[in-house]
Symmetry: C2
Subunit: 352 residues, 2 copies
Amino acid sequence: MTSLSARDAGSRPRATMRQVAELAGVGIKTVSRVINGEPNVTPQTTQRVLDAARALDYQPDLHAGNLRRADRRTRTLGLLVGSVDNPFSGAVHRAVEDAAAERGVAVFASSLDDDPQREREAVAAFLRRRVDGLILTTATADQTYLEPELRHGTPVVFVDREPSGIETDAVVSDNAGGAARAVEHLLAHGHRRIAYLGDLHSIQTARERRRGFLDALDRAAVPADDAPVIEDLHDQGTAREALLRLLDGPNPPTAVFSAQNLITIGALHALRERGRHRDTALVGFDDVELADLLEPGVTVIAQHPEDLGRIAAERIFERLDGDDAPSQRVVVGTTLIVRGSGEIPPPGGRRT
Amino acid sequence: MTSLSARDAGSRPRATMRQVAELAGVGIKTVSRVINGEPNVTPQTTQRVLDAARALDYQPDLHAGNLRRADRRTRTLGLLVGSVDNPFSGAVHRAVEDAAAERGVAVFASSLDDDPQREREAVAAFLRRRVDGLILTTATADQTYLEPELRHGTPVVFVDREPSGIETDAVVSDNAGGAARAVEHLLAHGHRRIAYLGDLHSIQTARERRRGFLDALDRAAVPADDAPVIEDLHDQGTAREALLRLLDGPNPPTAVFSAQNLITIGALHALRERGRHRDTALVGFDDVELADLLEPGVTVIAQHPEDLGRIAAERIFERLDGDDAPSQRVVVGTTLIVRGSGEIPPPGGRRT
DNA sequence: ACTAGATTTGACATCGTTGTCAATCAGGCG
DNA sequence: CGCCTGATTGACAACGATGTCAAATCTAGT
């Protein structure tokens, strides 16, 4: 009676290799050979094993095998991004997944919301699951805590943001260069009073973009005092409010550089609300969907998240394949996409 | 000499519980107790073990433990969506991740691109990794192949699309209802010649939306012959071309219902290209970013992907907690968001 | 001082698989 | 017919952890 209790819910536990072996009337090691496509099994035996496996709906337990296997690979990768909900992260994720899928590798994804504690927890959770490698958009200021993992041989590649405190591979956008390009574009159209709307100062890319912004102004000999620099915006709402305050202030900017995709959207809202979208220039960092259909279209410095993700994943696999060259830093360029909002002239129509 | 070869690259393998036990001078089972917070260990012993674990940078191997543990839980979930790159999927993913993270569960995500073969492979890949449950937006016409997994006790929950061939939980949007609502909205504004632009006919939700569209026309006694029904569009490009053909044709529609987010974007492009965006009404299914900033704003039937994801994840966890009630079907309502494009009257200005 | 009872601890089998190695088998050759 | 060779097969240990259970230690009551 009680021996049947496993069937109570009409369910029996998943079949093991031992049960397949028993049904096929062979040894367990022979099943292992068939499942793993090892040589030296007769076609008849192979067939018997496959039939038994099918009959029992056998699925090998990758982790049990991995425990004993020599290479100790789980064929699993851990990806840490800002949020799987953000289009930029989504594109990175997709590229990583595609590169991984080609190699039969599954991807764990986790959203950090730029929270250092979440990063530490997510990394630990992935390591306990023995991922073969980590790809991360860091949220912490210092990643020294990853040092031991690197020594244990787990490859770590940074995407979008550079590592600090450890020596490891990184794939990043040309943040300072892209930001400078945006500013130069606005300067070329005659603007002198350009506002900077940026993400949390704790984020490395945000600081880089700010640096690019200020450097470009400096090179053009535009006093930075003219430029309202607003930082620590972290979503559409705060960005919108910040720009509304500027627009309602005594000396509003004639142009705006919004340094992140959600900030750009917040800025667009603020401009529309004040009806200033046709006379205030705007260049955003990172492209946004439908930007081309707005009136005016939104000029942006586009990043190439697919490239970032693809290159990062390739780097991980090269490391896993034994590449032990010194750590590399790959910079992916940005592209200025002219659509209208960045070409609006300042009120006076000043020209070079 | 050779005994040191493990350090060749300056790396030593990851520490095991045995090594922690040795360093702490205790038995391996005592380390297990400390790591898992089991009772009956003196504070001094606990401290010695924790010190040793820290010194060796010990991370328990979740999968090794799981092999022996009674509950056999990997604390891992598999999520299969259209593409992690699509905003709708991203929102579902984020909601699932949040619900999972609360419970210390990690999430594997995989993109299917509506390819049935990819679905089968991804499911197998997840099962071999012994995920505790599967949440999927199916790409196959029939999911009978999942029947054995259900019997083995792996909970499966469908999101966005309904299962076929198996009895299991599903969380879906009110596709037919939402589509009908869109059509009724356009009818109320006087339109009679409404085009339907839909996704692949093989996709269940696409068929549901088409059904809702046709039903609403039927109820209004509008002959379906008037309505150009175009299906099997699967990206922005094909949707754009299809609508361009309609607009350039002999008797163009006065209103358009685009039944998916990428199709809506393609339709928007087509309308702009022909300069018809101010006189052709448009209602899209599924909201798109920046839809409110276009001119006119894009009226949509918004889905609630966060709710779909959250409810699906909760369902999985209820099943894992032992809920064995008959499978449920949860329908999440849609919301009509009026923004302008859906309220454009037909040329004649006919009114009810 | 001695023992019952509770607390703390560790030896050992075990989970599902793969690596090692020896046993068996078929066929060919002297 | 016996022996060698190479192909085929399976017994067994091991991977890193946990469950079981008994041994060791402590506490308190007589």
